[in-house]
């Protein structure tokens, strides 16, 4: 495959970025998108140029580290929901021009090229995305019963890998799908009940403070989500926060 790549290049957080155009003449359709970028970086290194910086880790679609906006779509396509690392070049046509940009959100500042700082997500998690689990002895497995349908819904929400595609896709750069996935995943389980009110109040406050926009119920986030997190979780978060607003203490 022959491809033309338009890639966002930015030396550091404060630098002005620009698009650079690269040509690749021998891309295998079996390559993953990141392997294609690896090959480009080899070409650039051999030519004495700076390679393109991009985030990646497991390359199995489960860690949530990678992610770029490809032709206007986070992780590249809506057909087979997956992360950028699991996107293969057979999804593109030979001769195509591919535009590659970082996630765009004020709360996700660009560090370099295609890498953005997603520590805003970590701060949201730190403000309630956990349960108080007593340490030392392992609890008896059947002491707390969980209904199958509830545990299934909780597991659906728990599938969120925090990649940030929801924020990248949202026209308001809102982080509600991410935050809601965490709130729903813990809030649907008995273990998550003691901190349920504190969790939603804390996580939403930090989410708002981080500079993410609000939700307009359009569903772009869910469409871009490689783990298909449902809009249900946002409704659940809204209800939890409304209830928290009327709680004493």
């Amino acid at each position: 495959m022959r491809l033309t790549l338009r890639i966002w290049r930015q030396k550091h957080a404060q630098a002005r970025g620009h698009f650079a155009t690269y040509r690749m003449d021998d891309v295998s359709p079996d390559m993953s998108f990141l392997e294609m970028l690896d090959v480009l970086n080899e070409q650039l290194t051999e030519a004495g140029e700076e390679p393109v910086a991009f985030d990646h880790d497991c390359r199995e679609g489960i860690c949530g580290m990678c992610g770029v906006v490809i032709n206007g779509i986070p992780h590249g396509q809506h057909k087979h929901r997956t992360t950028t690392c699991q996107l293969h070049m057979r999804n593109f046509r030979s001769g195509e021009t591919i535009t590659i940009e970082p996630w765009r959100a004020k709360a996700f500042p660009v560090i370099k090229d295609l890498i953005v700082d997603r520590s805003a997500f970590d701060r949201v998690i730190q403000n309630g995305g956990f349960i108080t689990a007593p340490t030392n002895t392992i609890p008896e497995a059947n002491a707390v019963l969980v209904a199958k349908d509830r545990s299934d819904l909780a597991m659906d929400a728990a599938a969120c890998i925090g990649c940030g595609a929801c924020v990248a896709a949202c026209p308001n750069a809102s982080a509600m799908l991410f935050t809601a996935a965490k709130i729903t995943h813990l809030g649907l389980l008995p273990q998550g009940q003691p901190e349920r009110t504190m969790r939603v109040v804390g996580m939403v406050r930090v989410m708002d403070q981080s500079g993410f926009g609000g939700c307009t119920n359009l569903g772009e986030c869910s469409l871009a989500c490689p783990k298909e997190i449902h809009l249900d979780s946002i409704a659940q978060m809204n209800l939890d926060l409304i209830k928290a607003g009327f709680r004493r203490g």
Binding site: N71, T99, K106
Partner: protein, 226 residues
């Protein structure tokens, strides 16, 4: 109380305000549509109904004009809160993405989002026009106070006015379609089991408002009402 205030300060709290005021406004538009249909019952019935709205609504609990003014104040407060919250959320959304994408994916939902905001502005202008046209009559050349039937028919006999009303109603329809479903989602009443039901409710409410209200300028233009 502090809980409710901190709820309002959050993005979600502002959305809750939009949902609740949106509910009041949609309910009003729906009842307004049913009232409008009195035009098909003839001049006497419509004028009598309009007089009842002004003088006798809420009788015997309320005196003349009190029901009318309570309605006006509730609507004004609802519109005010709806617009303020919308503008605040719009500003936050704009600030949320300072640098935009070079390559945008054409998306129905993203246009819908823009339509909600720009359509909202259009609806605000339309409400102003509508009040000057059929409430105060300031911009209605043949306006006669209290002669509601005459004012409606002569107003809509102007093709340009009718076309403007029809366009505004379509904008209102799009707004109410997304807004009504959004209300259930924002208030946390939605989930995958009820989603189809709420979408159907939103569609039926929108269609009822559109068909009911559009029938009047269409009937006047077609010559069925005169």
């Amino acid at each position: 109380m502090t809980g409710i205030l901190s709820l309002y300060r959050s993005t979600i709290g502002k959305k809750v305000v939009m949902a609740l005021t949106g509910f009041i406004l949609t309910a009003y538009v729906f009842v307004h549509m049913i009232g409008n249909l009195k035009v098909f019952a003839g001049a006497e019935k419509l004028n009598h109904y309009a007089e009842w709205l002004r003088l006798d609504m809420g009788y015997p609990i309320l005196a003349s004009f009190q029901g009318l003014w309570i309605t006006r104040i509730v609507l004004l407060v609802a519109v005010g809160l709806h617009v303020i919250s919308a503008l605040q959320l719009w500003a936050m959304a704009n600030a949320g993405r300072a640098v935009g994408y070079a390559q945008k994916k054409p998306s129905y939902t993203v246009y819908l989002g823009q339509m909600m905001r720009l359509g909202g502005i259009a609806i605000a202008f339309f409400i102003g026009y509508h009040l000057l046209h059929l409430t105060t009559g300031s911009i209605h050349p043949e306006f006669v106070h209290g002669e509601v039937y005459h004012n409606v028919i002569s107003g809509f006999q102007n093709t340009l006015v009718s076309v403007f009303y029809i366009a505004a109603l379509v904008a209102l329809g799009v707004h109410i379609l997304h807004g009504t479903w959004s209300m259930f989602q924002t208030l946390g009443l939605n989930n995958r089991r009820y989603d189809a039901m709420w979408r159907t409710v939103a569609l039926l409410v929108t269609l009822a408002i559109l068909v009911g209200d559009l029938s009047i300028p269409v009937a006047v233009l077609a010559g069925w009402l005169y």
